[in-house]
Chain length 458, copies 2
């Protein structure tokens, strides 16, 4: 028996946790284009967002400050599970026979089992501070609804969640988790909103989409002065909160005495990817490190690699401000793949801008390759990953196998943004040969792209 | 907003993890009575266990040594998730309005989500070392089967799991988790074994029991020289491996600068309870601390508070050696309550002996009180507990509320031995008023007790 004892994780004490979030906008050569008011097509001001968000969050959305202090009340909650561990994937490396060193930052240790509480907690905190009584939101795979329900419970806020219909039907445990934390869950499209009732007129919409669920949650928030809306990805303030991941990982890679040559994160709306990569991008822009930064997106919903860079709505009903982003069209209905959390038609405007600036790459990964990576990871590292980060694992494995061929020194850092305890039906499909890959063709995306409104580029 | 930042967890570095397991037997005034061969009724020797376990584990079962060194290969695996965190439950204390300080050692960070890998890993390690090719086992709630499947994958062993029928039917995600790690799952009673076929003759046995599933797994192991059996609780070597929990907690309580007045653990077969409490019991026997040590068992399967202390079989078919333990009778079929992992007719012989020596107490808790505690815990501490440790949480809350009345200085340490991600159907029942308490009466237990064989007390 091999009795070698290795170091598997690089931890930080609570006291070592960073106390600021990082705002990449401060370090970019040009700022991202502003959101536009959908009526006037003029840049949207803070007052345009006020029915949806408390002013503290709106100010974070538009701040130019490089660092934003994390309030004590948020640090206090973060400190229950943060700093999260950074793992060296020794056993996966062995199984691949690669000389590459693979590290993963694991966010599955959070109460909701993903990175989402990193922003749910400050969002609930600032809403409570502003006197808000209730939060509404949407959830796809269920990670975000769980996180917001948890955060709302801590601050005594009500939480009402519109869960995408297909997810509501196939993931009862996700709904139960949200309810265990005290939240209320509605199947979307619902009869509770004008938007929901309108979408229900067409049976094709019955399975729902994130865009439809957002329309419902936004409508309810906008119509009640005591209620606000919370979004789990896409927006600047959400990505800002998630930078705690990358800031910790920077400190942990230093403890490991290693420097990443590849940083890989999965992208849906972009918050996990931005959270991991932005602090490293700051270091790269400053010339201190030079990693490739790679977004791994699902082949079924590839907004970066197959979308266009244009102004589009964030929701299906066209109620949100217009945002300049890589989009497949706000009416795009993705294939029912398993990585539900990545099935959003658009990409964070900030990440879209960074992509346009040539500061990062993107790869679209078919789902069977993701699950092949997931099973190999589970059986070596012992953690069953959520479907979302398996896209990043697949890219990490691609790069690790390349290193085996080329012998090039390769140090991969990826984000394992959540566990897959509520996604095992997808593993069942994969292990029993019922999973097929997505169709990826121009024809597949033509209908969605045709719905993008003809807005003059800002 | 309250912006106080508190310390929530007491962590240890990998380097600070204890490198020995602790054997309580070395410090007891009298040794526990030996297991008996079911045919001869003479004390069972190592050779009697050899068809089931590798010799390293048999030697650990009977060792008198105070400390057993943890092999490097096991330490290396432990170090992925261990040392596990010790939390201070600040928000639960606030919600209870209690002056008591409540700490919980959290084992849900392990790959399987419970304390079970602490023994699954060394059991797989020693079996691999002995040249074994396949492990068989039973699983009730599913925690143990998941843990053994994970451990077997690491060492390249096959793993075959008999899952109690009612659990197999109601918890498909547990089966899928075992399969994701590479294990094979059979519904028990199965047609694959003589024992299973015999039990299936009576339709009353269709929902299965741990005792039946053990019979099946033991039968398969005993009939194949390349296969051994692994047990997830009850036996001395299992409790030995679990003492890593208490050894770490001792170091962490010292870091917290606090001394427990109450140590509370849930008991099914006893491994989680023994793992937490034995190192503290060592300190108590040495006169260094004086905590009350309390076992929390389910009212539906209360072997300590309603069983008898007698020699009985470990399985339903009567294939195992006879063990002196608190038992409800090896034919006892518990009510179908949700804390499936605690539904074993017997109690670890070592814990039974400690209980007879008056070194600990026991309380039986009805399930609605458990889930009331669970929901309060989830909504304050942010972790949805497995049903098993909610028994201990209920006792912790009882004691914390007593402290509020009496003002007595109370420091409670409990083990949160797993998360409830696969048990949310039970939360659904509780939150929607479908959960009722168990019948606890002499009549309820009479049938089971009558099946205990008339063996002369050793």
């Amino acid at each position: 028996m091999d009795d070698t004892v290795r170091r598997h994780k690089y931890t930080l004490d609570e006291d070592e946790m960073p106390t600021t979030w990082y705002n990449l906008v401060a370090d970019l050569p040009t700022p991202p284009p502003p959101a536009l008011h959908p009526g006037t097509l003029q840049p949207a001001g803070p007052e345009d967002f006020a029915p949806l968000f408390p002013m503290d969050l709106i100010m974070q959305e538009v701040t130019q400050d490089r660092y934003v202090e994390i309030p004590g009340g948020v640090l206090d909650v973060y400190r229950q599970w943060r700093p999260s561990p950074l793992f060296r994937a020794h056993r996966l490396e062995e199984a691949l026979g690669t000389p590459a060193r693979i590290y993963y930052k694991y966010e599955g240790v959070s109460p909701a089992g993903s990175h989402k509480p990193n922003t749910a907690v400050p969002q609930a905190y600032y809403n409570k501070k502003a006197g808000v009584k209730k939060l509404t939101t949407e959830t796809g795979a269920g990670q975000w609804g769980t996180a917001l329900s948890f955060a709302a419970a801590l601050y005594g806020l009500e939480c009402e969640v519109w869960q995408v219909g297909s997810s509501y039907d196939s993931k009862p445990y996700r709904r139960l988790m949200i309810e265990a934390f005290g939240g209320t869950v509605h199947r979307s499209p619902s009869n509770l909103t004008a938007a929901g009732r309108k979408f229900l007129e067409d049976p094709a919409n019955f399975s729902g989409s994130l865009g439809i669920a957002i329309s419902e949650a936004v409508e309810v928030a906008a119509s009640d002065p005591d209620t606000r809306y919370a979004l789990g990805s896409v927006l600047n303030h959400v990505l800002l909160h998630q930078t705690i991941i990358g800031e910790e990982a920077l400190l942990q890679m230093a403890k490991a005495g290693d420097t990443p040559t590849h940083i890989v994160g999965c992208t849906g709306g972009g918050s996990n990817f931005g959270g991991l990569s932005f602090p490293f991008l700051r270091e790269k822009l400053a010339g201190r490190i030079s990693p490739r930064i790679i977004a791994a997106e699902p082949a079924s919903c590839p907004s970066l690699t197959h979308g266009v860079y244009a102004y589009d709505f964030g929701d299906s009903a066209g109620m949100t401000p217009l945002m300049k982003m890589h989009t497949l069209g706000h009416d795009f209905i993705p294939d029912p793949i398993h990585a539900g959390g990545l099935r959003y038609h658009g990409m964070s405007p900030l990440i879209s801008h960074v992509y346009e600036l040539g500061m990062m790459e993107a790869q679209a990964i078919p789902q069977t390759e993701c699950f092949s990576a997931a099973v190999q990871f589970a059986r070596t590292e012992g953690i069953v990953p959520a479907p979302e980060p398996t896209h990043a694992l697949a890219v990490a494995i691609r790069e690790a196998l390349k290193a085996k061929e080329t012998g090039e020194e390769t140090v991969i850092l990826t984000a394992l943004c959540g566990h897959g305890h509520f996604d095992l039906a997808a593993y069942d499909d994969y292990l029993n040969g019922r999973m097929v890959d997505e169709e990826v063709s121009e024809a597949r995306f033509a209908a969605g792209l045709s719905t993008i409104p003809p807005v003059p580029v800002g």
